[in-house]
Structures are given as C-alpha cells and as structure tokens.
Chain length 394, copies 2
C-alpha cells in the first residue's frame, strides 16, 4: 500500500428535503453576499431555484445570481462569473446543479480569491490555488462526484481544450444531496452518470498499486452498487432507494476513498476530455463508455492478476486459471454489454467523432507527444492513437 | 435509506515515515503551545516521543507534555490535563498513542475550550461542546477508530461509570497513521483491535435501516478485510500490508462511513462499557468479543433477512431458505470461532466477571431501567440482564 493523504472535509447533508436547510447552513459561514450559480432552465422550472432563494431570504442572506452553465462548463462563463463576483463583493459561491455547475463554481471561487492569477492558468495546473472562497452545493445530478472531489474540469471554447485539475481548494465546504432532485434526470443522463461513477472507481482500481485489499473491496462495492442502482433508476426514475444509492455512490467514487493506497491517474478520463473538448456536445459519461472497452483490451495484458481479480470480484466470473485472459475478455465484454444495455455508446463513431480527428485527439492528449498516461501499461502518443483508433472501429 | 449527515474533516496522513511531518503539519495551525499527551512507557521506549518532540522543535513550536493515560482513560487525568493546559496556555493538543490517548486528548481539548462546564457533564451528554481546541494525533494502535470518529469515551474511576459521547467537536483535525508504529502491538492487543474494528462495523450493519446496499457492501468489505488483516498481523507482526489494511480499516469502521443511511446505536458497545467500567482491567475489544455472540443469539430472530445477508455476505454461507435461522447460527458460530482462534474470550467468565455483578451491569446499562438499547429488537433492562447472563454462561 502506497502512502496517501485522505482529505474529505465536505460536510454532506443527505436525504429528503435536506435542501430546505441551505439557508441555515450558509448562515453558519456568515457571508456578505452569495453567488447562486446554476445551469439552464431545469433548476428554474423545477422550482428548486426559487426554493433555495427563499431559504436564503429567510436567513437575510444577500445574494446575486448567475445562470447559463452548460455541460462541459466554459471558461468564458467562469471569467464572467469572476468579474461579476468582484463587482458585487461576493464571498460565497453556492452551486445549484450537477457537476458542470459545481466545477464552474469552483473555478469562479478560485478565480475570485486569486485575482492576480489568470484562471485558465489554474485550470492548466500552472498555479495551485491555496486561497478560495467558501462554497457549497445543492446537487441535482449523480455523476461527476464534484460535490466531494478535489477536481474541477473546465473547457476553453476558444482553443477546444478541456482541462481538469485537483487541489484542496476545490473541495466544497458542504454538499446537500436530496435524491428526489434527480428524479427528473433523463434516462440518457442517468446512464451517463452511472458510467461516470463506475469509471471514477474502475480507473482507480485498475491503476498501479498492490496490497490494497480494503480499498479494493470498497471499490468493488461501489462499482457493483452503481450498476444495480443505475439499472433500477432506469427502470423506475422515481425509485428513491435507487436514486439514493446512486447519489451516494457518485460522491464516494470520486472523493478519494476508492483509491487510497493506490496510484492515481484517470487515464480514460484524460482521453475522454479530449473528445468532449473537441466535441462539446458529447456527454462526458458517454465519451467514457465509448472509450473504455477499447482501452481495456489494449492494456489488460500488462497486469493479468489485477484484471482477473476485477473479472471475478466485479462480474462474478469463474477464473480460468489456464487462460486468465479469457476470463478478462469475458468481463470486458460484460461491461461493454452493460453499457450498451443502458443506451451508452461503445465506440466513437456513435458519438459523431470523425476518423480524421483521431490524430489531433492523440496529439492533444499526449500534450504534443510530451507526456504518457500512467498505468500498468503506460500510454505514449502512439498507444493513445491506437486506442482512439480501436475505439473508432469498435 | 434514512437521511444522514456525513462529516469526516480529519485530514489523514497515511504511510511510512508520515510521523516525521508532524512539525510541519502542526505549524499550519500556528499554535501558541502544544500539549503532547501520551500513555505509558511504550511511546517513550520506542523513541516515538523523542522523534515527535524533535519535529516540533525543528519548527520552533513550544510544547509541554503529559503522559500517563491508561486503557479506559480516566476522568482524573482529564481534569489534570485541563488544569495543566489552562496554566500553561496550551491551545493545541497532540495525542501520541492509541484510542485511549486520543479520547483523553479530545476530552481535555473540549474541557479547556469550555471552562465554565464540568468536563464530566460533557461526557454524560448533558452539554454538547461546539468550541474545542485544535487537535491532532500520531496513532500507534489500530482499534478504536478515534482518529477519525466523533466519539470519546471516558471512565469515571470514582463512580465506575464509563461514558461515551459523540459530537463534531470530537473530530481530530488531522491524524498521522504509520502502520509500522503498530508492529510492536502485542498479539492480545492486536486481536482486541481486530474485534473492535469489526464490531464498529457489524454493529452499524445490524442496526435498523433498509435499502442501504452501498453502505452494506462497504461494511462487508471492512469486516472481511479486518478479519484477513487481523489474522495476517498475528501471523507476522511486521507484515506492513496487513498492518496497513488493519489501520485504515480502524478509521473507516468508525468515521461514519459504514453506517450512512442507517440508524446508529452501538448496542454491544454500550453493554461492554459497563463491563470495562466496572472491571477497568478488561480490554474493550475483549469485552466486545465476550458479549457479542450471546447478544447475537438473543436478537437475531427480530430480523431474519438482515442476519441471513450478514451470514451469506460476510461468512460466505449458502443460505438455507427453509431454515434461515440455521444459516444465521452457523455465521454466529463462525464469528465465535474466529474470536476464539485469535485468543479472544467468548464469555464473561473468561474476563473475571463474577455472576453477582450481572444485575448491577444491567441496571447501569439501562440507566436504572430508564432506557432501552435500540435495534431490530429493543433491549430493556430484563433483556440486557438476560444477555449478560447468557454471556456469563456461554
């Protein structure tokens, strides 16, 4: 087991009606002025935004609003939000929405607290913020895990770059999670969420590291639970228990727990960021599903025992000790079938990616051939290109 | 799934040599003066105490020391520590030791920060502290989980009462966990630790609550991992990986994770506190082992499906659907055999408890017949007495 730091300061308020506490919770921070940051029409149409505003008003908390966050949240809105907060004297950011809204809120909070730094340099990892504004979230989507993660992913629509960075400043001070708020999430987005949650866990599970059987067993628990919860949510969108297990899985998958003692690089996430960076209409979870199986088939031979464990413990496949690769291939096929069964793509064509873009994707992902993606099998530019090609032709 | 609040602010530094960071970590809090609080000779003899002091000196951090914490930490030393801190102007408490040292440190920190309140009233739950001193721990024992828990248990040696209370103020700001520091823990104490960790999880698992399959699967992961790790630690006390998995399990078992969405009352813990309150030489883990099987046999009929799940998922027992009670009894027997195999008692006689004390234990545990212990089968005075009798005669 490798040394690790585990830090999950986010206080979680989980369950029915918990969003009604938001005023009292923010009151504890005694903010001067709150930015309520949100996405499109759903937060308004559902009445959630009005409910949140009412809670703040009851506590006499001043606030301003900024909506308009889109999937793959954009740098331009982050910049606008920073300027808006500076002009308004905002010292607390409240995200009301899913992972994109939360990430946009994190970037704004970091930008406001570090006025001498260009916020895109923070996204590029050139500067790691220590200072940030206090911030919290009312979550409406089980997927990205941003509510407890130290991660923030922003897209620069001018350059087509999508960049994620991790740091302590990115942790939310609190997260309110009422599973009922996810009842209206569409089947497609629900499936994307299930993929994203599963992948946050699987990617850590299949990163390098040994002798982490407690972490492994927890990861297996999260993966199996989200597969069950995902199916149940799709079968009945108002199944509270399914929505609840899925929502809690989204947080645990990405708050650090499922990787304790292991190395950490979300390789398929890195490859997917290029895809949805170039094709902003691609949902992140769908991009992950389209890439994962090809990546798996390309890399699994680098650590047969680990992948065999995955096949056995996650997919309950009896191990063929003479030909463990058959066991592994079965597992990859089962995961592929699962993705297809919940309406997810299993190749890049289904996402509208064109063949002539594969080289640029690989170039960008390898930062112009200057970095490899680390795992049991490190992936340099040529490997990354090969995986994109496999995922295109799958 | 019930609503819940999840709060684990403790920052964990886990792994080899992490204790060497203690000076730099405490420096971030900028304390005026630190109390180094510890137990008996082992922290001194091992050189750990000197190492910690050197790290503080390198950061020019002023400190004073107070040793002498015993198993089942005593109120008298807590009072002494509070007075000492007040006289010395201490504003940070560093615990160096196991759960008893950590609990004593928490009680001191709460006492110093609330000078108008009698610290025993805090232990009795009459006053819930909000203010507390900043505090951290260098952990040397995998057992109580105090390093991440909101729990603190203190014994009043004048009255024979042992009382635990939970509150946010009890959370450590940081915990340093180097599994190597547990190499010298005796086989008996190692086994006690394994029992305590398993029981923190099992008790939550067998408390009331439904539709928590993610939490359940995580709990099963912790229980199975600690059984494996416990065995491996006993087979080879310097097995780093076993010590590491056990140490991490101790934190996760009791930081709240294994009970999310379920009710929370550690029933057997409550019953054990009376035993080691009356018999201070009884190690907490040993007391739990002596009680658990009798408790299990007394209560399991109140929720056959839940206990069947436990038998199947933890002990891999095929379910006898016609006679599920047989499945459950097998599981209880297996756990009893496991406890015996690691040198733990499975009845109260083995701990030196005398038959004439059982009524007083039951009276104290039921707070003179004014409370029941809550679970699938609530336990009033008569039930508690019956379980003590069963555990005596087991």
């Amino acid at each position: 087991m490798k040394n690790f730091i585990y830090e999950t300061p986010t206080k979680v308020y989980f369950g029915k009606d918990e969003e009604l506490k938001v005023g009292k919770i923010i009151r504890e921070f005694n903010p001067k002025k709150v930015l309520i940051h949100y996405g499109g029409k759903s937060a308004k149409a559902s009445g959630l935004l009005d409910k949140v505003k009412k809670c703040l008003e009851e506590e006499n908390i001043a606030y301003v609003e900024l909506g308009g966050v889109v999937a793959n949240p954009q740098l331009s809105l982050v910049r606008k939000g920073i300027e808006f907060c500076q002009n308004e004297g905002v010292d607390f950011v409240l995200a009301v929405g899913g992972g994109s809204v939360l990430d946009s809120s994190k970037a704004i909070a970091n930008g406001v607290a570090n006025p001498d730094i260009d916020v895109w340099d923070i996204c590029l990892g050139k500067f790691t913020p220590v200072k940030t504004l206090k911030k919290g979230a009312v979550l409406t989507l089980s997927a990205a895990g941003s509510e407890m993660s130290n991660s923030c992913v922003i897209s620069n629509e001018e350059t087509g770059e999508k960049r994620g960075y991790g740091c302590s400043a990115n942790r939310m001070d609190f997260a309110i999670m009422n599973p009922e708020l996810t009842y209206t999430v569409s089947p497609y987005q629900t499936a994307c969420g299930a993929v994203d949650i599963a992948m946050h866990t699987i990617e850590r599970y299949l990163c390098t590291g040994e002798d982490t059987y407690l972490t492994d067993a927890i990861a297996e628990a999260v993966i199996k639970s989200v597969i069950k919860a995902g199916n149940d949510c799709l079968a009945n969108p108002e199944d509270y228990e399914a929505r609840a297990n899925m929502m809690w899985a989204s947080s645990l998958a990405h708050n650090g727990l499922t990787g304790c003692g292991r190395d950490f690089m979300l390789v398929v996430h890195q490859m997917e960021h290029e895809v949805s960076g170039m094709y902003p209409e691609v949902a992140h979870g769908a991009g992950l599903a389209a890439l994962w199986c090809s990546w798996a088939r390309y890399v699994y031979t680098a650590n047969i025992p680990r992948w065999t464990q995955y096949a056995h413990n996650v997919w309950n496949i009896d191990i063929d000790f003479e030909h463990p690769e058959k066991t592994i291939e079965k597992a990859i096929n089962m995961q592929e079938e699962y993705y297809a069964s919940i309406g997810m793509p299993t190749n890049l064509k289904q996402l509208g990616v064109t063949e002539d873009s594969l080289e640029k994707l690989a170039l960008d992902c390898s930062r112009n051939k200057t970095r490899s993606l680390i795992g049991y099998k490190p992936l340099a530019y040529e490997d990354i290109l090969e995986v994109y090609k496999m995922a295109y032709n799958a």
